[in-house]
Point group: D2
Chain length 338, copies 4
């Protein structure tokens, strides 16, 4: 922590600041300049509330020295985390494709779509069985019935399963069917849920909150990691901005930033980020060009009848064409995708 | 729902749009102007995803006609909801004061503070026993032990209790000790939690999410109301903006807007909104001047030693002085506070 | 400036950082802790681009020590700036009211409104003659003809004049008629305009930009001050947020923050902040309760026919009633208003 | 315009709304449903302030039917605008590269960099001579001397010139040296400047404002177009969000959205968007993959000594390597770049 003293602070005020820092257990280094005095306060307290010092008389400002996350930081884990799930590797040189419908709706739908997913070369089948909906009057998902269908369809085509968990009470039942838990944007700071998923040994894909900073997102990953589960995948799905022509603003720059700050893999979700089918292909291409470790794409064979998010689902033919484009771009930047 | 047709749309496109609307069960009214055709689609489907129409060829734009919430709307409930808890009324002409520490820390602390709360004329004692913290390494609350102390202290001074519930698994135990459940900003869209609190008969205070619109906030209230619990109090606690000199931006204009759109009472929380002690009094005064039905203020007798949010806690003497100012302002606008 | 060295930085990297700092002319203070090394770099360079150091190998982060503004800072000017314009004082204990129409429209309109302004006890008449409009097809103001009418109406009722200047070419002509130049939100960072207004001796009211931080706003004030004009008034008029039920979000917390950071007076503009007539009174009351040095309120005797911003204009009777409420609140916090 | 009537509105209120609409010159179409009445108000008034109707009693909401821009809209200009400047085409199938330093600093610098720009195959040399700086104490550009050097360097290597204009008073002098005027983000809504550039016959590149929506950006383009200058290029340079690890958030999704809504070409500026050298290459690749018509990249042969924005400038070798990557990605999506 670095404490900037006000130019006109008195000696008594400075002594008082130092006393407080020492009482809180910090080691002190004081630098006196012509205009400013700076106090370096050293000691490992990642969760210290710096406002405690900021409000003292004579203090101009206070900065944290260390990032508040540690297990998620590349500083303490230099190599990329590569998560191996039954032979499929996430975070390596190969870019992973995750596809499927927004919600599992019935047996016919999920089997049809699983076949297309498999045909595209994608490795992971997505599908929601418990749906977080803004309106209490909207379709809330098929529940365990949906989980069973999702697993059966994935098994038939040799795919892995990813599906969303909304609350601690669902962890066990979903764990029986899934290979990866997904945490939705609205639950990014549902701390009890993060801790309980951290106590399982199933990988977790953590979506970024609607207006979360990357630091807050990595802090949420830290919750899972510090509870014992090292297999965390980050997923950028768009942030809220003032723009109204898109559903959210897909923050593609989060991809190189996460790669710099953290060792965890990052997947891009252009479907939720844009909200409209015609914007998904350019944004999926951009995500691969920017270095995403995976792309999650919603598809539907009859999107007009989809029970949720139909307008952002790609039709199978558009989807298969897009995967081909992504392969060319992956090759152009030295990554594999097949 | 209103569908705006593009100026250059063909007749086939317009027919196709109309067919879709009819298939979705809407009644159609078509208005043809010189430049624009407008289609009114009428039928009660509050959760219809308007993007389904927006993506059809020939459609320029689509707007919802009705607000997506109903039970929370003043349209369907003209008079203010007044919640009566053991004789204390929230939402009436009297402005209610809620005070206490951020967290319950020990018996001495909570009893000392309850005494001050009582002395100020406030009716409700706040105190967290389960704390949502950004860092997994921070103090996470005393748990049930804290609830017991909070209840004992409140009972000694004839106060009501409000405390935060973070997940469904805590509902029963907290329900044994509290008069009002508090839902924190990060849980505003924790839909399973909202539904389960909606199934209790204890009033709920719902904080606005960090970057939630007022419409989304009222939709979350709708979740609780539609699950059977009519006693919802809204709480404005600041929203995230680009400003860095304050912790959050206290959206005081939410107060008259909520009063216009909804019949539910609204409480202001200047402590979390500003994050710094010296900004709490002017913002508390502003909230009362703008028409808040209640004000929640964090206090601490030794804020430097507080286990959470000490920098925003008022000292007892500042707090008592502030309450006096609030009384004068309440009188100036014809409200009671005592 | 404070430079935080990465835990795993090599000695060569640290030496290289120090060499760079010295080459840029800074004095160095190095503090070595168990985990972190911190380098204090001292020397007065308010505009140094800290990214120059941030991108060096081995650097974890860099913070500025001093605020980038100086003349606008309370650190270097402890007492409030009180601007005296022909006997009316802005920034003293008395709260100043500025009222009038959005645009000057014709002689009858501005004289009618000036009479009401005068009757309310307000000291300053506002009215736009050059209007910044989002659409090139909207009414763009009466130009010099409007300025003449504004001055005549103000003189008849003994009022001061404030009106907006949009570009350098308008400075001279507006200067002939006005007592205060107003800079609109969209011009807050029109640096040539700021410099040229800084070279006049007429006071300037600087509105906060739509998504400007308070620091950026004070930096813009610094442009005017450093060009020689000490008479700057700040005006909070709402910032852009995600909320759609209000036009902007009125950041009332900016009032105590500006008072803490700066010695310049701050006026609140609830009309532009909210955009709707019925929200102006509660927000005007809140601004006074929070400590504003002045309030600017748009009025119109026939708002349905107003050429701009009619929906946010108060009717004369509502306006006069509001002024009475503001007087009571001013008294409640020990300020004068008459 | 579409007016939604409140469910409980009286007949008198509805008649009053209709009377107002007719008085404002609209044609009326009324649709009565079970719950809602909708009034379509038709007539070409792109700048009508819909709040005038929104505030009437009995009105639930009002929506605009037509986009507020016309000349910038693809609805009225189906084919892409291709701007031909001395044989270089912007907006066609070929992707245009614009490179050079942030500021022109001296003869040696600009000639060295022009040589590299030319070597890369780029067609346009950038360089600022008048600089908008947040601080009045920062380097403000070389002025006309810089313009002369920029022109000479461009001419030597057969390049076009683009440079920023900050105020109307600079238009003539800059016009003598440049092939394209650049309008910076902070001037996006400097309406007098837009109008005066609209009266020239030199193409204009209009950067998006820091927190502007795409609609507002196209409205600003409309100002230039409606003043007579059809040659407008849009430039996405990052928007302000809550993220602090990047300087701005590069809104790559603006590229396909602009292509859908408008016929004007769009260029991406990853240098200002990210603010840090190491994030420029992934973001430049992403912009090309998403369909940008051009990319603007800042370079410097000695960025540590650059007088402005050195930390975001690419070194020549990184720049040349990036151009090669961009060529491969352009080829992958069927665009040319050479």
């Amino acid at each position: 922590m670095v404490v900037i003293i006000e130019p006109k602070a008195t000696d008594e005020q400075i002594q008082n600041v130092i006393k407080h820092l020492e009482d809180y257990g910090f080691q002190i280094h004081k630098s006196v300049g012509v205009q400013n005095t700076i106090i370096g306060a050293i000691g490992v307290k990642p969760d210290f509330d710096i406002r405690k010092i900021k409000i003292l008389d004579g203090v101009a400002d206070v900065y944290r020295v260390t990032a508040p996350f540690k297990l998620a930081s590349r500083n303490f884990h230099e190599l990329n985390t590569v998560i191996d799930i039954k032979g499929t590797k996430i975070g390596g040189n190969e870019i992973v494709i995750i596809s499927g419908p927004c919600s599992v709706e019935n047996e016919d739908q999920i089997f049809k779509l699983a076949e297309i997913v498999s045909k595209s070369g994608a490795k992971i089948l997505r599908g929601g069985a418990y749906k977080p909906r803004t309106s209490p009057y909207s379709f809330q998902g098929m529940g365990e019935e949906g989980l069973k269908l999702l697993r059966k369809a994935a098994d038939k085509y040799g795919l892995l399963v990813i599906t969303e968990v909304m609350e601690s009470a669902q962890i066990d039942i979903i764990g029986k069917y899934t290979d990866i838990y997904q945490i939705g944007a609205r639950n990014m700071q549902n701390f009890p849920l993060l801790k309980e998923l951290g106590a399982t040994n199933i990988p977790v894909m953590l979506k970024r909150g609607l207006s979360a900073t990357i630091e807050e997102w990595l802090m949420s990953a830290e919750y899972i990691l510090s509870s014992g589960n090292p297999n965390v995948i980050l997923c950028e799905r768009g942030i809220r901005t003032f723009e109204r022509y898109t559903r959210n603003t897909f923050d593609i720059s989060a991809i190189p930033v996460v790669h710099k700050k953290s060792h965890l893999p990052i997947v891009a979700d252009p479907s939720h980020a844009t909200g409209y089918r015609d914007q998904v292909p350019p944004m999926a291409r951009a995500a691969v060009a920017a270095g995403a470790d995976g792309v999650m794409i919603e598809i539907h064979h009859d999107p007009e009848k989809a029970l949720s998010d139909g307008p952002q689902a790609l039709l199978p033919e558009t989807y298969l064409k897009l995967i081909d484009e992504l392969k060319t771009i992956a090759a152009a930047i030295g990554r594999e995708l097949n």
